[in-house]
């Protein structure tokens, strides 16, 4: 049970405080309701580039990081398709420093042309380090546009091509700020050694005078139901063939979301899971296999990815996966197995609760989903999933016309380890 109190400031900023006197720390988490789904198709990668610029100094604070480090704090941020989330932890008596720098960058940014130029380059290096320079690194960049044709989830958050990032200008970046960064488009969570009274008072002090802004209305195209199986084959200089399956699944707040998540657990959470047991240990078709959900706000993807055992044809691996999916559709999940994945969810939830930053982030996420109170009924929702519902949801998910398949095959050219000495 995570207790918290909530208020909304006059400018629309939602403030939640979770008091945990056992910790000497305070966590400050600010979620902005903007992600790569809010980008223009001609400016892909902007939301994430923008996250980098948020550290480039604000109107009254020339450097974001320095004052925080000065008081013993640490921070980071991430951007995904749906949100941009900034977080920090510091000794709780220095809470004001965290609120000062966070409120100032909500008030107004003040980065320079040089700043923009450097961060464009940093983001390009991030793009290379995480995607282009890794074996199999571009698979997700290929899958999204295969699975989505109209919804902005078709492009990855990091960007699609380096040119969009290279061309980003100061004015359009500023415009992005004023259309998305505002108290009325954000959720602030304070957690740790902060009482609700103190938290609300300090939040109002620092954030209360920031004016409400006009948020660009979100009008995202709805992805039409997929009508036939999509397939893409690419060849890359990798040592082994790999296979990627992406099925469309319901949005985060849909009543079937938790069943989808449990299906992914039945298939691949832990060494007792079905895909690992059957396809890795017994049939030895894959050296590595994984099922997971993207869990996005709008209808997301149910993913299955695997690297084939050397010499196994990709079609054989594919067929074996489809056999397992057929069982998910047609055979009733044994009650012991269903209880197992529910236990795993409950235990992992509890392990996660030990960390105040994690609690702060989750509170922000659930508030963003509609109501922070849902944080305390989340495991209950998993418990309520029945074996019948699992079959029903699996039948809806695992249809060929709902599927995009990527064959990521080894290109016949010497690899690094074969050429270098």
């Amino acid at each position: 049970m995570i207790r918290f109190e909530k208020t909304t400031l006059g400018n629309g900023l939602r403030v939640l405080v979770h008091h945990d006197p056992a910790s000497p720390l305070a966590a400050v988490n600010i979620l902005y309701d903007v992600g790569s789904r809010d980008e223009d198709p001609g400016r892909i990668g902007f939301a994430h580039l923008f996250e980098h610029l948020m550290f480039g100094g604000s109107v009254n604070v020339p450097s974001y990081d320095t004052p925080l480090q000065q008081v013993g704090g640490e921070n980071n941020a991430f951007t995904n398709t749906d949100i941009t989330n900034y977080y920090l932890t510091l000794p709780s008596n220095n809470l004001d420093t965290g609120l000062w720098i966070e409120s100032d960058r909500m008030l107004e940014l003040n980065f320079t042309e040089k700043n923009l130029q450097v961060q464009r380059q940093v983001v390009i290096e991030e793009f290379k380090q995480r995607y282009l320079n890794q074996p199999y690194g571009d698979a997700i960049l290929l899958l999204r546009p295969l699975a989505y044709k109209v919804h902005p989830y078709r492009w990855p958050t990091i960007g699609r091509e380096i040119s969009h990032i290279q061309e980003a200008g100061l004015e359009e970046v500023k415009d992005f700020f004023y259309s998305h960064y505002a108290p009325n488009n954000a959720i602030l969570v304070l957690a740790g050694n902060v009482t609700p009274d103190r938290g609300f008072e300090r939040a109002a002090y620092w954030f209360g005078d920031i004016e409400r802004r006009n948020i660009r209305p979100r009008n995202l195209p709805v992805e039409p139901p997929q009508e036939s199986h999509r397939h893409l084959t690419v060849h890359r200089p990798v040592p082994f063939d790999a296979l990627y399956l992406a099925f469309h699944m319901p949005e985060r707040t849909h009543r079937d979301y938790h069943a989808c998540d449990l299906i992914s657990d039945i298939l691949s959470n832990g060494k007792s899971s079905r895909l690992y047991r059957s396809l890795v240990m017994e049939q030895k078709l894959f050296s590595d296999i994984n099922a997971y959900i993207t869990g996005e706000r709008d209808p997301g993807l149910f993913m299955i990815t695997g690297k084939l055992t050397d010499g196994v044809p990709v079609e054989a691996g594919e067929k074996a996966i489809h056999n397992e999916l057929e069982k998910m559709r047609e055979e009733r999940v044994p009650s012991h197995e269903l209880a197992k994945v529910k236990n795993q969810v409950e235990a992992n939830w509890l392990y996660g609760e030990t960390d105040i930053l994690n609690r702060a982030m989750n509170l922000a996420l659930f508030e963003w989903l509609g109501d922070a109170d849902m944080i305390n009924s989340e495991t209950e929702k998993y418990h309520k999933v029945t074996a019948e519902q699992i079959n029903q949801v699996a039948r809806n998910l695992f249809r060929m016309e709902n599927l995009s398949t990527l064959y990521y095959l080894r290109q016949k050219e010497p690899l690094n380890h074969e050429t270098s000495t």
């Binding site: 000065q70 932890t89 450097v118």
Partner: protein, 428 residues
Amino acid sequence: MIDRKTPPPYGIIDKIRFPLPEQEILGNGLSVHTIQDGVHDIVRLDYSFPAGSRYASLPLTAFAVNQLLQEGTKKYHARELAEKLDYYGAVFKPWITSDTAGLTVFTLSKHLIHVTGLVQSMIIEPLFPEEELLVFLQKRKQQFLVEMERVSYRARNRFTEVLFGENHPYGRTLREDDFQLINREVLRHFWENTYSSSQSWVLVSGKPGPSRLKDLKKKLAAIPLRTEKDALPSFPDIESCPGKRHVIPMTRHVQSALRIGRLTFPRNHPDFPAMLVLNTILGGYFGSRLMRNIREDKGYTYGIGSFILPLHNAGYLTVVSEVGSEYTANAIAEIYREMEILQREPVKDDELDLVRNYMMGDLLRELDGPFSTAETYRHVVDAGMDMSHLLHIMETIKHITPGEIRELAQKYLCPEDMKEVIAGRMDE
């Protein structure tokens, strides 16, 4: 109007309160440390054995033993172990370093005794079944060949080879041929020598509750340990590879991985705490000299940092980064420039104050809650030290002077003492 120009007043962290572990030697000689703290009914268990890669003739042997403990025992088939651990919602993580290997388990307190029973069987009666071994080797070999396509992996491995020598226990890295040399007998032999060592120890953290803790200790006391001290193999001389720059050409890659560093010392060396401060200034946090210069000013990389890795009988300091291929030469030059500045100019007071506060804040985070404390404590005890080591580090952070930092830089940051590894392309 509120004053947004002036930083709000703040407090300095002077003392950090952390739970002191209790220690008990059980009848079998096993040392059990407990940190009872926290609000949730969950427990973390850390089993630690002197079974690191340095004690095996091939690094793969030590790794395979550590991984295969969970793949079948006299009492349980691999499938059963996996089923039960997953059913209890336990998180089971084998881990290994050059010196030590172990098992870390998270479990709900109510399942503690069941889960411990499974883990105990893995430690005292593993079978290393042929079939599971074959699957493991196939999987691991494929992972290895994928890793060989990553510039970061190649640079990391080559760097330890270069520093310690290709055949030194701290230097040797995994090679493709190693996969043919592993068999059940090799594994069994290594397990017998290491997982019943009198130097093994267990750390219990979280909230087991008094009666479960008692039952747990009873169980742990039944682990048969050797009574005599281990006859540890002698530590061979370090023979670094000759030559300063070692390039692994990977021409298709758009970034190069860099490692630039040198040998240092174990955790109990008198310079260790001060080196932590010097390292933080150089590359140990987001505001470090390397980050500010090479990422935030030049944009050559997504990230650059440095760290000190203390080992039982040695240690090293290294700068790590992946930089755009076209910036490789410039980035290396800037790394050396930052070392030279630290050798030449004393750190200014405002930067040092910031680093002191940042490091104290970092310790506060590391010691927040029983599980973070356990993680920190594990490294300290593993090095043969106790929590007074942390107090010593705190005192150093608070009192080190700019002069002492410069002296340390002059001693340990000479560019001519550094070895370089570059995996990727050196575009000029």
